[in-house]
């Protein structure tokens, strides 16, 4: 037996997409391989590092631990949906200005964690900002500049 394919319709960054996917395809692989949205990264693949963070139904989740089928009928936001055309999202501008990236691998997940936080809490304290990215590992920056960028973005938006 092979895992049967399932027809799913997911709204990704505001656009409804319908695809036949194998029932065991992860949301992460669906985004990257089926839709070509390779901004979302795979880090540990075990829900520890947060590199694959996306927002599903308004909640920040690890896309590596979710079947694409579970996202059927849901709203999914990825890093590709942040910028408005050529105009960067305040979080993206703040990350660039603060130098909140080195290798950049954690950055898409960090940005989505920052967005999920600011969507719920538009003016976080520094501690709340740190807590908001607590599920995302960065091996380069030491987090200071990332937290600073989230705080700057909160001021701007």
């Amino acid at each position: 037996m092979e895992t049967p394919r399932i027809r799913i319709t997911v709204t990704v960054n505001g656009e409804a997409v319908s695809e036949d996917v194998p029932g065991d395809r992860s949301l992460l692989d669906f985004l990257r391989d089926d839709l070509g949205l390779t901004g979302t990264k795979e880090g540990c693949g075990e829900g520890e590092c947060g590199a694959c963070s996306v927002i599903v139904g308004g909640r920040l989740v690890d896309a590596c631990l979710i079947f694409a089928a579970e996202a059927d009928g849901r709203n999914v936001e990825t890093v590709e949906g942040l910028a408005d055309g050529e105009v960067l999202h305040p979080l993206q501008r703040a990350f660039a200005a603060a130098g909140a990236a080195q290798c950049g691998y954690c950055t898409p997940g960090m940005l989505m964690a920052g967005k999920a936080l600011l969507d719920r809490n538009p003016s976080p304290t520094r501690e709340e900002a740190a807590h908001g990215i607590a599920g995302n590992l960065c091996r380069c920056t030491g987090y200071g500049t990332i937290i600073q960028a989230v705080m700057e973005a909160a001021k701007e938006s």
Binding site: P4, R59, D62, F67, E70, H131, G135
Partner: protein, 288 residues
């Protein structure tokens, strides 16, 4: 992964009909997804419960609070119905995994997964909670302290589904607390401990009833029976707290593993039990 059929029933009845012996229920998936990826399950059918309406509701009911099995850790941690009475449960729900985990992981999943280290198990045992279990024939209740049979094994029979947790109302002059120690915030508990203390009506320093539950120090979450006996009827001073911690350490049956040695775990049981008793006592007195 082994091949499987993905099903997303829209009603509880439909879900129960799908729960054949080789079907596995899917809640948040934070444990199940990896078990499937590592081929640690024989399941040929995955029954996603998230399309069933109202299975995630947290509501006040006669005599307490009913928490739907699909309630998210994040919702539990934020619920004023829970925070008002069941401090131990609130604390445990707020420290499970990361934000991403808590936005996905459910109370029912944390219990049904039956990890000896499950953070919500000791609080529910200390609070005297029961699991509501359904099958095609109806529902029954299983006290949470009789739910666990071993690592990954519960008292649920084939075809049964954990549908809700019922937590009895907090009595007057009672309080609860949860403490744990971990290597890193993302790791599972080395040891966790919940305490429930109810104080005597006439003697506000005297324990009328105590329940202490420990996690990650036995094949299942465990009631510390001798610690409870030591506390019942005792005037709660530091000597009694110390002695109860000692009792709890002897109640524990920890093992050496990659995270900690049995000796260290036993020592932490002593420390965490004392802390948990002190904070449950303060809450029972309305001080915190």
């Amino acid at each position: 992964m082994r091949p499987f059929h993905y099903r997303a029933p829209r009603s509880l009845d439909e879900a129960l009909a799908l729960l054949t012996p080789r079907a596995v229920p899917l809640a948040g998936g934070t444990d199940l997804f990896l078990k499937m990826e590592r081929r640690q399950t024989q399941a040929d059918t995955v029954v996603d419960l998230k399309r069933i309406p109202e299975l995630d509701r947290i509501e006040a009911v006669d005599g307490g609070v009913r928490i739907g099995a699909l309630a998210l850790m994040d919702s539990l941690g934020a619920s004023s119905l829970i925070a008002g009475q069941y401090e131990a449960l609130t604390r445990s729900a707020r420290v499970v995994g990361s934000i991403q985990t808590r936005n996905r992981a459910t109370l029912g999943g944390n219990l049904a997964n039956a990890s000896p280290a499950a953070d919500t198990a000791p609080p529910l045992m200390a609070l005297g909670a029961s699991a509501e279990v359904a099958d095609a024939g109806g529902t029954r209740q299983v006290p949470v302290d009789r739910l666990f049979l071993g690592p990954g094994r519960t008292a649920l029979r084939d075809g049964e589904l954990l549908t809700a947790i019922l937590v009895p109302a907090l009595p007057a002059r009672a309080g609860s607390s949860f403490h744990r120690c971990v290597r890193t915030a993302m790791d599972i508990a080395l040891v966790n401990c919940a305490a429930f203390i109810r104080l005597d009506e006439d003697h506000p320093d005297t324990v009328a009833e105590a329940r202490i539950a420990l996690g990650a120090v036995a094949p299942t979450p465990l009631r510390a029976a001798s610690a409870e006996t030591r506390l019942a009827g005792a005037r709660l001073d530091e000597d009694v707290v110390e002695a109860a911690g000692e009792c709890a350490a002897s109640d524990a049956r920890p093992i050496d593993d990659v995270r900690a040695s049995a000796d260290y775990r036993r020592e932490m049981v002593r420390v965490l039990t004392r802390r948990a008793i002190r904070s449950a006592f303060r809450r029972a007195r309305g001080e915190a």
